[in-house]
């Protein structure tokens, strides 16, 4: 239990913030599932093209953990399976049928749920495919069901640009949330930490039971789960494991146990200056980006990002939004070249340094593009990178130890507490234009393989 006031960081003020209203739910005919969303999982296909599947039918399983299966988010026909280089499964497309058929799944009464053991819960989640909702730190991969987490984190606040408001999302969907929390409590010997913003009022959150409530305030990344773990229950070494679940997925887990319904929907935001209708949408899990954007006018030469503009990934219209993402951000590509940009006053350039005139007039909502705004240079430590990382970690020195592949030093400097998304503002503000998030990612992959 605690109040945490984060000082370091920055809230990007971008044009294209989604309005707090639900748009018309887009109609999906095809769903797409990409196993690449699941870090640490080597998928083994369980279906072939042309197979008829119901909602919940296993599509693939984990190679190293055969009980862990992924259930189809809809019913219909497996229309396409794409295999990439080295026979790596890329994605599975499901052509939805008009009738929606689900595999019969068991529902539990409140009394039954109270008696379930951790093993019962795990096996039910594994065989229904909801286990994928549980991830672990370090390494941000799908949780190993056999590991013993010291605590579980649910971060019900988003500070990244265009993040959905957790209260707004859970308000309509709070039924299963408490059940989900109580179920997760049985999976850890420690506590379930529910983190919310300082101003949160929704009773489903503020009156939640079986959890320890923490409140965070301050600029982004104050809402990142990595920052919460760091301040509440830091990861000490490779085997010091913490699990975390998205609040919408907590509600989905609760619903599954309460009603036996397989989760088919989630709420996302659509934002960014590249689209005209910026709003919240209830979409099918696995819905294609082009269906989500159907009711929207998308500008030319834009980048469509699954997730937020800082830590999301580039995606295409015929792909689904990422399994763990709840935002679709559309911003213009920045190929425009400014004449003598280094000397112009820069009234409309966005910068955390004060080196443009815009900095003297306070931060205004600005249209930002994908332009790098400079070229790669050696590390010149101006101190910007340190000023946006609210962790007891010295980023410049950690980066150097990663580049040198110095395992011992990386461990001492806290690599296990890191996740690329927590360093995205560092990469944003870096004058030398280093790919800091990529370096952190490389470091973590190296430690996972070697350490």
């Amino acid at each position: 239990m605690g109040d945490f006031c984060i000082k370091k960081g920055h809230d990007l003020k971008l044009i294209g913030k989604p309005e707090k209203s639900m748009g018309d739910a887009p109609v999906s005919e095809v769903l797409n599932i990409s196993p690449a969303d699941f870090k640490g999982i080597v998928p083994k296909l369980l279906v072939k093209e042309g197979d008829i599947v119901k909602t919940g039918t296993p599509l693939f399983r984990s190679k190293f953990y055969p009980d862990m299966v992924y259930g189809s988010p809809g019913s219909g026909t497996v229309s396409q399976i794409r295999i990439g280089e080295r026979r790596k499964l890329q994605d599975i497309s499901i052509q939805l049928s008009s009738a929606d058929e689900s595999l019969p799944l068991q529902a539990y009464t409140a009394a039954q749920i109270g008696k379930l053991s951790a093993g019962d819960i795990k096996s039910h989640m594994l065989k229904t495919g909801l286990w994928f909702m549980v991830r672990q730190r370090p390494f941000s991969k799908v949780a190993n069901p056999d590991s013993a987490p010291k605590s579980i984190f649910i971060s019900a606040m988003g500070t990244a640009p265009f993040s959905p408001d957790a209260e707004f999302v859970l308000e309509k969907n709070s039924g299963g949330f408490q059940t989900g929390l109580s179920i997760l409590k049985k999976l850890t010997s420690g506590s379930v930490n529910l983190v919310m913003g300082k101003g949160t009022k929704l009773p489903a959150l503020t009156n939640a039971k079986d959890v320890t409530i923490h409140r965070f305030s301050g600029p982004h990344p104050a809402g990142n789960v990595g920052i919460h773990i760091h301040h509440i229950d830091p990861i000490k070494n490779k085997d010091d494991i913490v699990w975390y679940v998205d609040p919408q997925d907590v509600a989905a887990i609760g619903d599954l146990f309460n009603t036996g319904n397989f989760p088919k929907y989630k709420v996302i935001t659509v934002g960014g200056s590249g689209v005209t209708n910026r709003h919240y949408l209830k979409i099918r899990r696995g819905a294609l980006v082009k269906d989500i954007l159907k009711s929207n006018q998308v500008a030319d030469d834009v980048r469509i990002i699954s997730g937020d503009v800082l830590s999301g990934v580039k995606t295409k219209p015929d792909r689904a939004i990422g399994y763990y993402h709840n935002m679709l951000s559309v911003i213009p590509e920045g190929r425009k070249r400014y004449f003598l940009g280094w000397i112009m006053p820069g009234l409309k350039r966005y910068s955390l340094s004060g080196s443009f005139l815009s900095g003297l007039m306070g931060k205004q909502e600005t249209e930002m593009t994908t332009a790098v705004n400079g070229s790669l240079r050696a590390i010149i430590p101006f101190g910007q990178v340190e000023s946006v990382l609210p962790m007891d970690i010295m980023p410049t020195f950690l980066l150097k130890s990663i580049l040198a592949r110095d395992i011992e030093e990386m461990e001492k400097l806290g690599i296990y507490e890191c996740d690329p998304e927590d360093f995205s503002l560092c990469a944003f503000s870096d004058v030398s234009k280093m790919e800091i998030t990529e370096i952190i990612r490389e470091g973590l992959e190296f430690m996972e393989a070697e350490g």
Binding site: L12, P234, R303, I305, G307, V309, L310, G312, K314, S329, I331, E333, R335, K336, R337, Y338, F339, L340, W342, I343, G346, R349, Y350, S351, L352, S353, S355, F356, G359, T370, A371, V372, N373, G374, S375, L376, R377, A378, I379, I380, P381, F382, G383, Q384, D392, M394, T396, F397, K412, L413, P420, S424, L425, F428, D430, V431, K433, E435, T437, E438
Partner: protein
């Protein structure tokens, strides 16, 4: 403008890999990104990036140097003949400084390009600042060939042999000045180098303050008609760009508002200087050394102290790179500058040596800070 863009786009393929001009790509890149911001888009997250880049940051430093540069031009003429108009003084200064500036930029730029081509990396903007700093920290009478030799030494030995901008241990402009100081002491110290009139010698306030026994430095200054305000405004003999504390402080405001310079370092230098100066003041009565009596506000306006504090100590590469380290580094430089000035009669100008010492110690300071940080993390996790 469109024509220029089209021209550069037409030239681009001629410098691509596998062409005859391939190795001169750094030159093309420099011209291209000088005229227009680059068109690179982000490959992965974060998909948006801050508008600032190294070019912009370095230009801001040059901008911050302009007030002291322009005052320096005026002061050269003013020291020669105080009765002329401001414009005349200014023109005299320009005639002397422009050649020094051109030599520093020309020679330094040449080395920068040579190393960029050999090492196949882009030309680094850091030299924009180094090339501008060098003319500001030499006396107006400096022979141009010495500027050329010192700049070469500063850029090649001070920076490029370590791997270029970002890898250097010492501030290249200071290395150039230190080279002059030890190789050609007659051209950079003494009483006759500060005015451009032949045969006229004018001592700098620092030399005056150190030139007596059993008296106080402030008395010596008063006897030579150096008032504190004159020194603050900069109407005194000295290196081209470092006499006016006022102009330097204007530059400091620019650097601090734009967050290019570390406020921790500047504050640290001030604390170190005030602390040690007050200490020497206490000892002054018991000693015959006049410099011990010099109070902190005099230290600030004399010699290269203010210039070094704002523009030299704050070089982010050669300074300590951790926040705690920046405090220690700053305090150390401020304190050492006063100590060298007051206790060592051979070096009236202590700031240059203090900063070079600070540069030499900064990796060690960072190492100490890092070990403490690791220890604290381990205790927190225990």
């Amino acid at each position: 403008m469109k024509m220029l863009r089209n021209f550069l786009d037409r030239m681009h393929p001629k410098f691509k890999n596998g062409t005859k001009l391939e190795k001169y790509y750094p030159l093309f890149e420099m011209a291209d990104t000088f005229m227009f911001t680059p068109d690179d888009v982000t490959k992965s997250g974060p998909h948006v990036r801050d508008a600032v880049d190294l070019k912009r940051a370095m230009i801001v430093v040059v901008l911050a140097l302009l007030p002291t540069f322009f005052f320096g031009l005026f002061n050269i003429g003013y020291q020669e003949d105080a009765t002329r108009t401001i414009l005349q003084n200014f023109m005299v200064g320009l005639k002397i400084t422009l050649p020094i500036l051109i030599v520093a930029y020309g020679v330094g730029g040449f080395w920068e390009v040579v190393f960029a081509i050999v090492r196949k990396h882009e030309i680094n903007e850091g030299f924009l600042v180094t090339g501008f700093l060098i003319p500001l920290i030499v006396p107006p009478t400096i022979p141009l060939w010495m500027v050329a030799v010192a700049t070469s030494f500063g850029v090649v030995i001070g920076k490029e042999i370590f791997g270029g901008t970002g890898f250097n241990i010492f501030n290249p402009a200071l290395v150039a000045r230190a080279f002059l100081f030890f190789a050609y002491p007659g051209a950079i110290s003494g009483d006759s180098v500060w005015t451009v009139v032949d045969g006229v010698s004018k001592a700098t306030p620092l030399a005056v303050a150190a030139s007596g026994v059993n008296t106080s430095a402030i008395d010596l200054l008063v006897r030579s008609n150096f008032s504190w305000l004159d020194m603050f405004y900069g109407f005194i003999p000295g290196s081209i760009g470092e006499t006016s504390t006022l102009a330097i402080l204007i530059g400091a405001v620019i650097l601090l508002v734009t967050r290019i310079a570390s406020w921790r370092i500047i504050t640290g230098v001030m604390i170190g200087m005030v602390g040690i100066a007050l200490l020497t003041n206490l000892l002054a009565a018991a000693s015959s050394n006049p410099m011990l009596a010099l109070t902190p506000h005099y230290h600030l306006v004399m010699g290269g102290f203010a210039f070094g504090m704002v523009f030299m100590a704050t070089d982010p590469v050669s300074a300590a790179q951790s926040n705690a380290g920046r405090w220690i580094y700053g305090i150390m430089i401020g304190g050492l500058a006063v100590m060298i000035r007051s206790v060592n009669p051979a070096f009236p100008e202590g700031m240059m040596l203090a900063i070079l010492l600070g540069n030499a110690f900064s990796p060690m300071i960072d190492y100490m800070v890092l070990r403490r940080h690791i220890k604290r993390r381990q205790q927190r996790h225990a």
